[in-house]
């Protein structure tokens, strides 16, 4: 039995409680739910408005999907091209097969640089490999420079969204964190004042720390360049002031051509923040003497991605460009926020990505954390059929668990197995209906409704009633009606 979610959420899929348990503290926290639903509704409406003004939106989605799939299906070629071009431009490319190797490469670079401090541009990939605690344990302090990440770092909280990581925190909560951690007793919750406080804090970091770590929105094979899109200019600062830049990127982030950005950038900002264009788009290629970082490293991270790539239906997961439209439009995420997903990748994309990155050792509850409503697929700018992958992963989970006694005795699983036999023949199905009516009849009250059921049925009746089974099934009515097509039924 895994522990019930504690006050502070765990974003390590190996340790996080299963989704149905992890949601409980959130569902009991009205402030958190209000913050999440409000933020989601605002972003969702902005996105819908801006998408509606693009007459070629569906064509753009198809193009983006084709570009991403082409890159994935020729990934080896494009990664080697990227490596060659990046190296030729003065960068150094490292290959990391898993999280531990990526961490080791990064700490070795930092040791060569004698760095005891680094500044960071927001990167989910660093969260995936748990980089910050590792650096801390190895004597390197990492400072976040994205406003939301600063709030989380100073407030000792975890991100709950991939684009707006502090979405679960409201303004007055930010004020409290800044006032406490920056020693600003008189700080108000005026957004301008809060931003200025962060700005003053950040300037000192930018001016004194010569080493930076970033993720990548895109790697461009044709040029060997890296692209970052952001809203605050902190990325631009990290790309100009430091002497050394280390970029950590999943191997799936590669685009074949520079021109492909044209398609991606039209889709990304609209899908992510509901903006026509994000305020800052930075592109850099290798090292330019006298301009920006003079030492540039790219760490290409596999960490399970190759095994996803090998599977036909699951491969599309890697098309993701991390826009978060899926979670912004997800009715489950709207209720739960991101922490319950137990990973830096929450929401629908997290529900398929996390279990695959972790090779299904855990996170087995995540593929079931969806009502399969399809909203994620509808809004996905690169057309990832998330429901299809969820179903694929559900089948994997069930196959893994087949034959385990705990599963055999699980009332829902047992019920499904029995149902499968009953559905195999009409006579057994009809017998099940007959006995089901008698069985449920014991729980049916005088008003004709069932108010409480035992076992797995109790999960239904905790919030809903169930109408008692009617005395005559449809097929019995049809049979009693006799062979009189065309005549009016009684």
């Amino acid at each position: 039995m895994r522990p019930v979610a504690s006050e502070r959420p765990v974003l390590d899929p190996a340790l996080a409680p299963p989704f149905p348990q992890a949601v409980l503290p959130v569902l009991r926290n009205p402030q958190l739910r209000k913050n999440v639903a409000h933020a989601i509704d605002v972003i969702q409406a902005k996105r819908a408005r801006l998408v509606a003004e693009k007459t070629d939106w569906q064509e753009l989605r198809s193009a983006a999907s084709a570009i991403r799939m082409h890159a994935l299906e020729n990934l080896g070629f494009y990664l080697e091209l990227f490596e060659a071009r990046c190296t030729a431009a003065g960068g150094t490319v490292h290959w990391a097969s898993d999280a531990a190797e990526a961490r080791r490469i990064i700490i070795e670079i930092l040791r060569q640089e004698n760095a005891s401090e680094v500044i960071k541009i927001k990167t989910m990939t660093a969260g995936e490999i748990q980089l910050n605690p590792f650096l801390e344990a190895n004597g390197v302090s990492a400072f976040e420079t994205d406003l939301a990440e600063i709030i989380l770092q100073l407030g000792e909280q975890e991100p709950s969204h991939i684009v707006v990581p502090a979405l679960h925190i409201n303004r007055s909560q930010v004020r409290e964190i800044f006032a406490r951690r920056m020693g600003l007793k008189d700080l108000s919750d005026d957004p301008k004042e809060l931003t200025n406080a962060a700005r003053a804090y950040l300037r000192r970091k930018f001016l004194t720390i010569p080493t930076a770590i970033s993720g990548a929105n895109f790697l461009i094979a044709e040029t060997g360049g890296v692209a970052i899109v952001e809203s605050e200019g902190n990325g631009r600062m990290c790309l100009t002031l430091p002497q050394t830049m280390i970029t950590l990127a999943g191997i799936e982030k590669v685009l074949p051509r520079f021109q492909d950005l044209e398609v991606m950038l039209q889709l990304l900002a609209r899908s992510a923040t509901g903006e026509r264009m994000n305020p800052y788009t930075s592109l850099w290629t290798g090292v330019v003497p006298g301009d920006g970082p003079q030492r540039f490293h790219v760490v290409l991270l596999d960490n399970g991605r190759s095994s996803i790539l090998a599977k036909t239906k699951e491969r599309q997961t890697l098309k993701c460009i991390r826009c978060a439209a899926c979670m912004n439009n997800c009715p489950v995420y709207r209720q739960t926020g991101g922490h319950a997903y137990g990973s830096v990748y929450p929401g629908p994309i997290g529900a398929i990505l996390t279990p695959q990155l972790m090779r299904m050792h855990h996170a087995q509850s995540l593929p079931f954390a969806s009502s399969l409503c399809g909203a994620c697929y509808e809004v996905c700018p690169v057309k990832i059929n998330i429901p299809e992958v969820l179903l694929e992963l559900r089948a994997h989970v069930v196959n893994q668990e087949r034959g385990r006694l705990s599963r055999f005795l699980d009332p829902l699983y047992l019920g499904l197995r029995i149902a499968s036999f009953l559905f195999a023949n009409a006579w057994s199905f009809h017998a099940a209906q007959f006995f089901g009516r008698i069985g449920l009849g014991l729980f049916t009250r005088n008003d004709g409704w069932i108010h409480a059921l035992p076992s797995v049925g109790g999960k239904w009746t905790q919030t809903r009633d169930l109408r008692g089974l009617p005395p005559q099934t449809f097929h019995a009515w049809w049979a009693a009606r006799g062979p009189r097509p065309g005549t009016e039924a009684k």
Partner: protein, 250 residues
């Protein structure tokens, strides 16, 4: 015109009045209906919970049963979505050539009820009379799964006496999701609460849909909370006339 009715397992068991309404409606429109007595389930519940082998057995059964049907009409968009979205994968993975051939031939002859009325019969005005305030819940499978589009509204617009009130946040899921409603009961209930608030805000007497599964979810909460509203499958509204009003709804 001939059509074979696949009533679906849960309509057969829980909502026979929907089946009776489909019969009344289609026979009134001159359709010669038959009902295969050996039908059971499309396999959706198993497929959606990860029991792919079991789902395939049911899919195979359904394809074989309806191999010779002229058309199949199904008053449940989620079961139609199952056949269109998931059967192809199941057939590819687990079926043989003859089954795949039968399925490919059957697929274009499978219709959801509103598709059957509009695309196959070419009718919008089915002669219905339903003097009530109604709001329509566009189920996820109807809306996104099989893209019913304007069809339900075109049918409802022609129902005499009915006042149709639009439902806010129409495209948002009610939280049912099959076994999701019990595997993730707390989240499902939270989603249901939000949806029910929207439904009740319309002030309608009835909430209708083309999926009794969503209506079972919504209706169960309405009954629990004394919401003063009822649910009714659209087939029952369309079958209803002055002479023969809809059967008492749940």
């Amino acid at each position: 015109m001939r059509a074979s009715l696949f009533i679906t397992c849960y309509n057969d068991t829980l909502y026979p009045e929907t089946g009776r309404a489909v019969v009344q409606l289609l026979e009134r429109l001159g359709v010669e209906l038959d009902f295969h007595p050996k039908q059971t389930c499309c396999g959706q519940m198993h497929a959606n919970t990860g029991f792919r082998g079991e789902a395939f057995s049911q899919a195979k059964r359904l394809v074989r049963l309806y191999r010779d049907a002229e058309t199949v009409v199904i008053p449940s968009s989620s079961c139609v979505a199952m056949i269109r979205d998931q059967y192809p994968g199941l057939m590819d993975e687990l079926g043989n050539d003859s089954l795949r051939k039968d399925f490919a031939a059957l697929l274009p002859r499978v219709y959801e009820l509103s598709e059957f009325l509009i695309d196959r019969l070419g009718v919008e005005d089915v002669g219905a009379y339903f003097p009530h305030r109604v709001t329509y819940h566009a189920s996820c499978h109807g809306l996104r799964g099989i893209n019913l589009g304007e069809r339900p509204w075109r049918l409802m617009a022609k129902v005499r006496g009915m006042e149709l009130i639009s439902l806010p946040n129409l495209d948002r899921c009610c939280g049912f999701g099959g076994t999701f409603s019990v595997k993730n009961a707390e989240v499902s209930s939270a989603m249901l609460a939000v949806k029910l608030q929207d439904v009740v805000s319309t002030g309608a007497e009835y909430c209708t849909a083309l999926d009794n599964s969503c209506l079972m979810h919504l209706g169960g909460a309405m009954h629990r909370q004394y919401a003063g509203m009822k649910t009714i499958h659209l087939a029952q509204i369309l079958a209803s006339t002055e002479a023969s009003p809809a059967e008492a709804a749940a």
